[in-house]
């Protein structure tokens, strides 16, 4: 395969893992994070410490990345998830910046100049394996009782509480899992680039991840997959107009919120079953229309020609 195409595929696979996590947090649990790049940074640096300094195998580094990111997110969740949503947003905003500042000033890990020489363990194959694991885990989670509880919290927190759902616990669960995903993505990114720098995990990165989730559609895993692939490839194709990319994204995000808040695929999943169901419905609709036309002809001028609601 062309090395360039392979590179973009790998990047979109890495982005996908982070996006999947954020999709759970924003799309299913209704929490908005400005600091997910911070969790990626934590993952990237923890994994690099494991493989480069401690000489541990790559999968241990990935596991450590997930664990450390999840642990930090648990601390943030403890402090903010019992409060109103704004507090969580502001805390993640502060957290993302703080992680970057801490790493900038931590000379032991390269500081602001970055940290080179990370072993190039990331391959297309292990990205793909982790992507598949990530999607399967998430799809099963959102279809489980826990996933439905998260959706209930997103839709109407008070009603969910009244129905006996421990809303704090489910928000926390979504946050910790999504931070673990971001940590894994960071670990993969570090071992793909073989060089990490705090600047790579700035707020722009966090907002880009969120944009992908919104484009793909809140509450749709297949939307997130589609979004991650398309929005990683698109900038490569449109290199010439790259500086206008984020201008357009910004406008598009507002447009989506005003016009189609559920995004490209919101609430709709692309599975073999849903595709078949879609075509079956289309056939049925056509059959009904044909039937109605026949009826209309029979009782011309009779009832309102509109099909049933």
């Amino acid at each position: 395969m062309d090395a360039y195409i392979e590179g973009i595929l790998m990047l979109s696979g890495i982005n996908l893992i982070a996006v999947l996590g954020l999709s759970l947090l924003t799309g299913f649990a209704g929490l908005f994070s400005f600091g997910h790049a911070g969790f990626m940074a934590i993952g990237a640096y923890s994994a690099a410490i494991c493989t480069k300094l401690l000489g541990l195998p790559f999968f241990a580094g990935i596991a450590a990345a997930a664990a450390v990111a999840a642990g930090v997110s648990w601390l943030i969740g403890r402090a903010t998830l019992k409060l109103k949503g704004d507090y969580f947003c502001i805390a993640t905003l502060g957290f993302g910046e703080a992680i970057r500042l801490i790493l900038d000033n931590f000379q032991g890990l390269g500081g602001a100049r970055g940290w080179p020489g990370i072993p190039p363990h990331t391959t297309l194959l292990n990205i793909l394996i982790l992507d598949v694991i990530g999607v399967v885990l998430l799809a099963n989670l959102v279809r489980s009782r826990h996933g439905r509880n998260m959706i209930a919290v997103r839709e109407e927190e008070l009603a969910a509480k009244v129905a006996g759902i421990d809303t704090f616990r489910y928000k926390m669960l979504a946050l910790v899992i999504s931070a673990a995903y971001a940590g894994v993505a960071g670990a993969l990114l570090g071992h793909y680039m073989t060089f990490i720098q705090p600047k790579m995990f700035s707020m722009v990165k966090s907002t880009e991840l969120t944009i992908i989730v919104i484009f793909g559609g809140l509450g749709s895993i297949s939307g997130s997959v589609l979004g991650a692939v398309v929005l990683t490839f698109l900038p490569e194709l449109l290199r010439a107009v790259d500086k206008w990319r984020l201008v357009v994204y910004g406008l598009a995000v507002i447009g989506i919120m005003i016009g189609r808040p559920r995004g490209l695929m919101g609430g709709f999943e692309l599975t073999p079953k849903s595709i078949r169901a879609h075509f079956a419905r289309r056939r049925e609709e056509r059959a009904i229309k044909a039937g109605q036309a026949a009826e209309d002809e029979a009782f011309s001028g009779g009832e309102d020609g509109k099909g049933g609601l």
């Binding site: 924003t26 209704g30 908005f32 400005f34 403890r78 402090a79 903010t80 409060l83 109103k84 949503g85 704004d86 507090y87 947003c89 502001i90 805390a91 905003l93 502060g94 957290f95 910046e97 703080a98 500042l101 801490i102 900038d104 000033n105 997103r154 707020m203 907002t207 969120t210 944009i211 919104i214 500086k243 206008w244 990319r245 984020l246 201008v247 994204y249 910004g250 406008l251 598009a252 995000v253 507002i254 919120m257 005003i258 808040p261």
Partner: protein
Amino acid sequence: MAQFLQQMVNGLSIGSVYALMAVGYSLVYSIMNFSNFAHGGVIMFGAYFGFFAMTLLKLPFVASFALAFVGTSVLAVVIERVAYKPLRERSAPFLYFIISAMGASIFLENIIIATIGPTFRTYPDVFGRSSISLGSVSIGRLDLIMFVISAVCLTGLVLFIDKTKMGRAIQASAYNMKAAALMGVNTDRVVMIVFALGGLLAGIAGVFFGMKYTVYPQIGNITTKSFVAAVFGGLGSLPGAVLGSVLLGIIETLVAGYLSSQFRDLIAFVILIGVLVFRPTGIMGKTTEDKA
């Protein structure tokens, strides 16, 4: 002791500009009940408006200053009309407002990068580098002017909110938007006025930040600190926002002066976490559900 006093003076001056930003942000929060993350973009535009008024149009400082805050007022209202009003009208969930705000913020920052470019620019030197000494403490002229104008603006805002009919309408809407509308308050106009006021203060803050540091597209990120200051003082409370900002400004300068300037930006986050863990309502807030 002299050094401590000096740090206090510097902190007070930077804190007063934080207060301008935090008050604009808190004002919108108290009415709309969501964090307007596009506020930073408006501040950045203020800095650019002022800069180009002085360099391209060669206007005197006062005229440039006025142009900047009128411009940001209009900009803030336009953002509200485009990005929030449609959501307001169909009472969309809180999450959509925040996402829309993020979209507006990305747009504002990147339209500047795409058109004007990401370069850092320095304001022409208006007030000179001279300073006024009071005993052992010396105050930069810019710092003094920043402090005085901020104090005047904040006093003016308090008077406006306390004494005028519109101000009372804002208070009523902050307390309960629906009930205020039922009592004959034109809440749509209240929202517009609140955004205009927030934009005005943001424009002033933008010009000051541009003069004190430099002008660049990411200058709006400094609002992160005003969010922290607003939480510190009590989210949605105006006196809280002012107090939180001034304290944050002083703490930051003290940390930069006595510990290390690298910790200056970090201390805001440490304060944020501390406040969220021990007293999420902030200094002045009553409960986390309460509003101004």
